[in-house]
Amino acid sequence: MNTAFLDAFWIILTGSLVAVTGGLLGCYLLLRRLSLIGDAISHAVLPGIAVAFLITGSLSSVPALLGAAVVGLLCTWAIETVQHRAGLQGDAAMGIVFTFLFAVGVILVSSLAGNADLDQECVLYGELAFVIFDQTVLGMPVSTAILLANLLLVAAVLTVGYRGFFLTTFDPAFARAMGFSTVAWHYVLMSLVSLTTVVSFESVGAILVVAFLVGPAAIAHLLTDRLKIMLLLSALIGVSASVGGYFLAAALNANIAGAMTVVLGAEFVGVMVVQSWRKRWRAIPPVASPT
């Protein structure tokens, strides 16, 4: 097999892994109206990532990943504390907490500039193309392997906890009556989101992760009312965006994650437009039959 093809394969696979994981989690975030918490977490893990780099020099070790992910959880906790203890409205609580953590993260990153393989731009958008320069584990690049492991973990937790997530998402009161702890399930979801943002960091950066947490789920939500189909669709949409994004980026010789996001945006607009056409089509009253 020629190497160009293989490179493309690894890049698309890695992008798809991020997109599918983001899509699955994004469905739950969207339905629980937590899409912007995903946004906040993805910004807020930056100090965790910076400290992990400071200590271990990379993000490829499990303790470093977990440590960085804890900051994401800390962020959700802090938002809730500011909101309920200090009595600040939700959107402002979120805005203050995540910008603060992000600012701390940028300060840490710039204070260790040159010491580690971490610069400001990669914070924002990462570089998927670098995945092919990784060392390999089990025949695949390390980043890809980590993302695959993360996807398996997320898929396993979502499958095992399907009932719990389903009930606490759609009918929290009933779930509580059935003995499901809404708080516990919330934090399980938040942990998965934090972990996913952290492991996706090197490929797509801390900010573009949001696109994968929101985009595929939003498109799938337009298309179906059923959770299982929505999960499946968002995974498929994620993969298609990652394929399309790769070729768009290759054509422009530009950032792959950015291109994937643009493809997602185009898909969303496409679905919206088709749906509004269909709505207009249906709105035309049937021709009255002659009597």
Partner: protein, 431 residues
């Protein structure tokens, strides 16, 4: 590390570079803080965030078309794409089932992704003058030029001027848009103006703190100021003052440590002010509210202790008999430590006297105990008379109300019930 001499030198603003940075960040900070009050009050904090992310493609396109990175060229591009983002969020909200938060997240990330795509495209074309573009991502306050100051100053003046001019209208719009509509204000046009001003503030501010932190420049000063005042005018001024203070301190840190970025430090200082306000502000701050809650709990407990002693005296027909702690516990279960504390404070307030036979009510304590029993029984009577509740259902409610009813309410109750002598349980209502 931090010397007073350096601080004074910095504050003397004798170096032109320091002057540019300090004045630039102050102007941008104040303008954003002023307009941010309305963003905050209208609960649009995260829309500001979306606008900030969304200006990136506009900046890149403006650069690609014009090939220059002076603010005069880039700002219109940024302005247009910020506006487009705002319209897109609105369009998605109106035409799909997506909730506003998902719409905001989607627009934010897609616009930003498009910006990243364009930015990396420009970078690989190797145009030498593009190097400054990425300053918009993280902000580069240190790169503020004298020419930029004019832009900041003019937009700042325009913003503050318009806010001053339309202050009453914007206030009404933020607190009660329905009333504004009913009062005949051109709500749509005012909203348009307010959104335009927000985009303008974001677009000018981005160069100092970057796309991500811009939201903080809008929201954090307003949120911090909210803890100190209930008046919008004061809130605007206080927010502006916080922003100015944070700008000076943030600039100072990056002046001291040249590799430290100015923008993030401004935000860290600003967040620090906000967190301190959340905890320490009088009345609305966390400590003040905790203190209020504690005082209220203490007051209720003291009143309960006093009432227990009063009831005991009432049933004995003798208010002069002493009562030990155990006897009080026999009347009503208290936590022993809390009971001891309450007995001690009641004694200090002169409501209880302590001697070898135990605690007994002083003259004033007797009056206070009688007052509590009276309110309790009046309320029970009121519930049975007016709400037709059964006498055995009214005790718990009265138990809560006796701590809350003011002397004025008490007088009204007595008048409404015709100055009664007996309560529904056939006990005396003490005078």
């Amino acid at each position: 590390m931090l010397s007073l001499k350096e601080l004074l030198h910095f504050l003397s603003l004798s170096e032109p570079n320091i002057r540019y940075v300090v004045f630039g960040t102050i102007m941008v900070g104040i303008a954003s803080a002023v307009i941010g009050n309305f963003t905050f009050l209208r609960k649009r904090a995260l829309v500001g965030d979306a606008i900030a992310h969304a200006v990136l493609p506009g900046i890149c396109l403006a650069f690609m078309l014009q090939g220059s990175r002076t603010l005069w060229v880039l700002l219109p591009g940024a302005f247009v794409s910020g506006w487009l983002a705002l319209l897109s969020i609105d369009w998605i909200n109106r035409n799909s089932r997506l909730k506003p938060d998902a719409a905001i997240g989607l627009v934010l990330s897609v616009f930003f992704g498009a910006g990243v795509l364009l930015l990396t495209y420009i970078q690989q074309t190797g145009d030498g003058s593009q190097s400054g573009l990425k300053h918009f991502l993280f902000g580069q306050a240190a790169a503020i030029l004298p020419g930029d100051l004019w832009v900041f100053g003019l937009t700042g003046l325009l913003l503050c001027g318009l806010v001053a001019l339309f202050f009453k209208e914007f206030t009404l719009l933020s607190f009660d848009p329905d009333f504004a509509q009913a009062a005949g204000l051109p709500v749509r046009r005012l909203e348009l103006l307010l959104s335009t001003l927000t985009v303008l503030a974001v677009v000018t501010g981005i160069q100092t703190v970057g796309v991500v932190l811009m939201a903080a420049l809008l929201i954090t000063p307003a949120a911090a100021a909210r803890f100190w005042t209930d008046r919008l005018g004061a809130m605007v001024l206080l927010g502006a003052a916080f922003a100015a203070l944070a700008s000076v301190l943030g600039s100072f840190v990056s002046y001291q440590q040249p590799n430290m970025p100015t923008g993030p430090w401004i935000i860290v200082v600003l967040s620090g002010i906000a967190f301190l306000s959340m905890v320490f502000a009088p009345r609305r701050g966390g400590l003040a509210r905790l203190w209020d809650k504690l005082r209220h709990t203490w007051k209720i407990r003291e009143e309960n202790v006093l009432k227990a002693i009063y009831h005991s005296g009432e049933s004995l027909g003798d208010f002069t008999a002493g009562m030990h702690e155990e006897a009080v516990q026999g009347r009503r279960a208290f936590n022993p430590w809390q009971l001891r504390l309450s007995l001690w404070t009641l004694q200090r307030r002169g409501l209880l006297q302590h001697n070898a036979s135990g605690y007994r009510l002083s003259g004033e304590g007797l009056r206070e105990g009688a007052r509590l029993a009276r309110i309790h029984r009046l309320w029970e009577l009121y519930l049975t008379e007016y709400l037709r509740l059964a006498p055995d259902h009214v005790h718990d409610d009265a138990e809560a109300m006796e701590h809350l009813i003011t002397p004025e309410l008490e007088a009204q109750l007595e008048a409404a019930l015709g100055y009664p002598q007996r309560d529904p349980h056939d006990r005396d209502i003490p005078r």
